[in-house]
């Protein structure tokens, strides 16, 4: 193990822009951060990693002025503070992309990016200079590689596109430190590449960056220094030369990670879910057909806005379909609502957990039991005991980090919330499960657990449809991969043809390079 210094000072010559010392933050029942110290030098890119609930977001919220620490000092430019306010933080030049998206969907992109800092026209009236605003936002969007314009209403953007707006917003601040809290959690590869380039650009301009991600290879590529958090405590610091995937994992979870479960060798069973000529409202002129077999994990890849989420919502009955039919086990479904889907054993882990996945104000146990109330009730009356039993079982099997199953779900860290979403479906013995970005914001240890879980499910005969923008995940976990391009399935890759290159080619609508197939193959 590397030496863990008392404070993680930067070895450079320049005076640190920002330093924390002895910071502590506790919530009822948890110490989210304890005795934490660090320094950030100008132009330094710090990677911050740690398991779900390790305290990363809490730390960033303290820097952003959103959360007040219990103790400790924050020094900016040599001035010591007990705490920062949102304004104080902004004035100090700290820009922030929050883990949870916070855009205003009743305003357009331009208004969102400069909200609170609008360019004004001359005069006492404080009128917005709209031309200047549009121009400034336009160039920012170009920089992050967005394909939409400044006056697009945010309500028209997909989640990933919204994440780009958030990034543009952070860049728009004339900042000296940019904090990115899991900015890539729903970004596919090309956009992620652009972001990494942006980070390098910032560094070149002498701007510091704190970059939080569960995708460790991204950290490896850009970080000058990595801080590892474990249970609210600084578990280790890796200088640039020592940044290494396995070492980060070891510091994060205190042990090395077992190798990822191999892809199943068993032959998939009969077709469990079959979608024929589905037309969605976003792409009404592109019918989509898809089959998933029992016991297989079908990956669904594609670029931002390629229509994967839309397809999943239609299969789950949430969105109306304009045409086509859905069959399970060869039977046509009367699919008009999510309730119909659930009744037929089709479950969805949605993309946006805060809005669609969980009730933030409900205790964990009630979130888990919600879709399966009939099983947790007798003569229409709720059985709390049965709820708690199920919730406890899921908590220990998924390793949900929480004081108890009665804890308010909203107070969990992002990754643990995601586990609660998974838990509620796993408790119901799924037949067909659709997971839209199931590991969004989940730490590497838990990811491995989830992949294991998916494999266990598949081996038990469940059909799994996994939508993911994480290329490694798509390739590493799926038995087959369907790729979408502009609302259509541009191709399905078997195990033999599965490569990063082929997925990308299909995603942009080109032909993949297929391996020659032996006629007498399997």
């Amino acid at each position: 193990m590397l030496n863990v210094p008392e404070t993680s000072s930067f070895a450079g010559v320049e005076a640190p822009f920002l330093s924390l010392s002895g910071v502590r933050k506790s919530y009822p029942g948890v110490v989210a951060l304890d005795n934490f110290s660090m320094e950030v030098a100008p132009g330094e890119v710090i990677g911050l990693v740690g398991e779900n609930g390790a305290g990363k977001s809490t730390l960033m919220k303290i820097l952003g002025g959103v959360v007040k620490p219990d103790r400790g000092t924050i020094t900016v430019d040599g001035i010591e503070h007990d705490q920062l306010s949102v304004e104080g933080s902004m004035n100090a030049g700290i820009a922030f992309v929050h883990q949870e998206l916070n855009l205003f969907d009743n305003l357009d992109v331009a208004a969102n990016v400069f909200l609170g800092r609008e360019p004004l026209r001359a005069g006492p009236l404080k009128l917005v200079d709209r031309a200047k605003l549009r121009e400034m936002v336009g160039s920012l969007l170009k920089r992050v590689g967005a394909n939409f314009s400044a006056d697009t209403p945010v309500s028209k953007l997909s989640l990933a596109q919204q994440q780009m707006v958030e990034i543009a917003k952070a860049l728009s601040i004339n900042s000296r430190l940019v904090i990115l809290d899991e900015p890539t959690s729903s970004l596919p590869l090309p956009e992620t590449e652009k972001l990494l380039a942006v980070i390098k650009g910032l560094k070149a301009d002498g701007i510091s960056v704190i970059f939080i991600s569960h995708r460790l290879h991204e950290i490896e590529r850009v970080a000058d220094r990595v801080l590892v958090l474990r249970d609210g405590i600084l578990a280790g610091v890796l200088p640039k030369s020592a940044i290494d995937h396995d070492e980060m994992v070891r510091l994060m979870i205190g042990r090395a990670l077992k190798a990822r479960t191999a892809v199943s060798m068993q032959t998939p069973g009969a077709v469990a879910l079959s979608a024929q000529d589905i037309r969605t409202t976003t792409y009404p002129h592109h019918p989509v057909s898809l089959e998933i077999r029992r016991g297989e994990i079908l990956g669904l890849a594609g670029l931002v806005g390629s229509g994967r989420t839309e397809l999943a919502r239609v299969l789950f009955g949430i969105d109306a379909r304009l045409g086509g039919e859905v069959y399970t086990d060869g039977k046509k479904l009367g699919l008009h609502s999510a309730a119909d889907a659930v009744a037929n054993g089709i479950f969805l882990v949605p993309e946006d957990r805060k809005l669609e996945g969980i009730l933030l104000d409900f205790p964990i146990a009630q979130n888990i039991s919600l879709p399966d109330m009939p099983a947790h009730s007798k003569r229409y009356l709720v059985s709390v005991r049965s709820e708690n039993k199920t919730a406890e079982k899921q908590r220990s099997s998924l390793g949900i980090r929480a004081p108890s199953v009665a804890t308010r779900t909203g107070s969990l860290s992002g990754g643990n919330q995601q586990k609660v979403v998974l838990a509620k479906w796993l408790a119901m013995n799924p037949k067909i499960i659709i997971m839209d970005e199931p590991t969004r914001g989940i730490d590497i240890g838990a990811k491995a657990e989830i992949y294991n879980l998916m494999r266990v499910l598949a081996e038990a005969g469940v059909a799994v449809l996994m939508i993911s923008s994480d290329m490694e995940e798509v390739i590493g976990v799926s038995d087959r991969v369907a790729v979408m391009h502009e609302g259509q399935i541009s191709g399905i890759l078997d195990k033999d043809d599965l490569s990063q290159e082929n997925v990308m080619l299909l995603a942009v609508g080109k032909k993949p390079r297929l391996a020659k197939r032996e006629p007498e193959g399997r």
């Binding site: 502590r24 506790s26 919530y27 009822p28 029942g29 007040k68 620490p69 219990d70 103790r71 007990d82 705490q83 949102v86 789950f316 949430i318 609502s337 999510a338 309730a339 889907a341 659930v342 009744a343 969805l348 949605p350 809005l355 669609e356 996945g357 969980i358 009730l359 933030l360 104000d361 409900f362 009630q366 919600l370 879709p371 109330m373 009939p374 009730s377 229409y380 009356l381 709720v382 509620k424």
Partner: protein, 332 residues
């Protein structure tokens, strides 16, 4: 009973003690019976409202429904000579249908609850007035319905039967809201309708059911009110009753954003409001100030509750930090 409910109960008792000290006639059985009769009527109304508020909705047409259904009920039995049990059932069904219509517009056609029920408020009032040509609906002299009158306006061992009805309804609705699957769904929908739908709950049906419950309870209250006043001038009967019902729910800890509140709370809220009305009359406060007293007490009640809650949270946080508190007030 939650902490909130206990606080409210204390407030009720303290106010009662003060009033009794000033005017001991407050505690006369006849006064308590009169007041508990009105608690019964308004309580039934408020429980109905509570079911809608829990879903994050609101039902503003309550006062007008009370006028319309009351006019119809009296007309049916006093003028058209319908058997009262038939009329009774018919009115409850009508109330349910009104609720169903509102629920349908809100849950299926996605109109805003405030808008739908505001239109209801206007329309039913107008229809009630048109129905009687702006006249009064009432019983003729000497017209009697002994059983109906006993059930609605009578007393058993001095306890008004309307109050007994409230207790029964309260018990049933307590189980429905706090122990049943349906109740759980209501809370879930109130907290986050989208997430509830993604959990496979048929949110539309549940919301409609909430409005139907509100409609039926409102219809029941309408009959009680009609039998209490025995005459209805549709232009003014039930005016502002929706505000009383909403105020009772809010005092009782309901949030208009939905997903919060308890049956005990809404009943305590009703009791406090009726106690205040009684107080104004008993203490000889100018009746012009009646509204002000009510508004003032609600405001103070909510304020104290809120500040007390904030204080407790702060203390808990400070204690959790086990350090010198640096949790200064957050301004923005």
């Amino acid at each position: 009973m939650s902490k909130k409910d206990i606080g409210l109960l204390l407030l009720i008792l303290v106010v009662g003690a003060v009033v009794a000290a000033i005017n001991p006639r407050f505690l006369l059985p006849i006064n308590l019976a009169n007041t508990s009769n009105l608690i019964g009527l308004f309580g039934i109304l408020s429980i109905g409202q509570a079911f809608v508020i829990i879903t994050g909705g609101i039902e503003l047409s309550v006062g007008s429904s009370i006028a319309l259904l009351g006019v119809l009920f009296i007309d049916f039995i006093a003028t058209r000579g319908m058997d009262w049990p038939v009329a009774f059932i018919l009115i409850l069904i009508l109330g349910g249908l009104i609720g169903l219509a509102h629920g349908w517009l809100i849950a299926r056609l996605k109109l805003q609850p405030f808008v739908v029920t505001l239109c209801g408020l206007l329309i039913y009032r107008g229809v009630a007035r048109f129905y009687t040509a702006d006249g009064t609906a009432g019983f003729a002299f000497g017209q009697n319905f002994p059983t109906l009158e006993f059930l609605t306006a009578g007393r058993t061992y001095g306890v008004p039967n309307s109050f007994i009805a409230l207790i029964v309804i309260m018990a049933i609705m307590w189980v429905v809201l706090h122990r049943s699957v349906f109740g759980r769904y209501l809370y879930a929908i109130g907290k986050n309708e989208e997430a509830a739908r993604f959990s496979g709950i048929r949110t539309g049906r549940i919301i409609m059911a909430a409005y139907v419950i509100c409609g039926v309870l409102t219809a029941l209250a309408a009959i009680y009110f009609a039998m209490y006043t025995r005459s209805i001038s549709p232009a003014s009967h039930g005016n502002f009753y929706e505000l009383y019902a909403i105020a009772a729910a809010v005092l009782g800890g309901f949030s208009l954003r939905g997903g919060e509140g308890s049956i005990v709370g809404v009943i305590l809220g009703t009791i406090l409001l009726q106690e205040l009305q009684n107080l104004v009359n008993l203490l000889g406060i100018p009746s012009s100030l009646n509204f002000s007293v009510m508004g003032g007490v609600i405001l103070i009640g909510v304020l104290v509750d809120q500040q007390w809650g904030a204080f407790r949270t702060r203390r808990r946080l400070v204690r959790a930090a086990r350090a010198e508190p640096s949790t200064e007030g957050q301004r923005n």
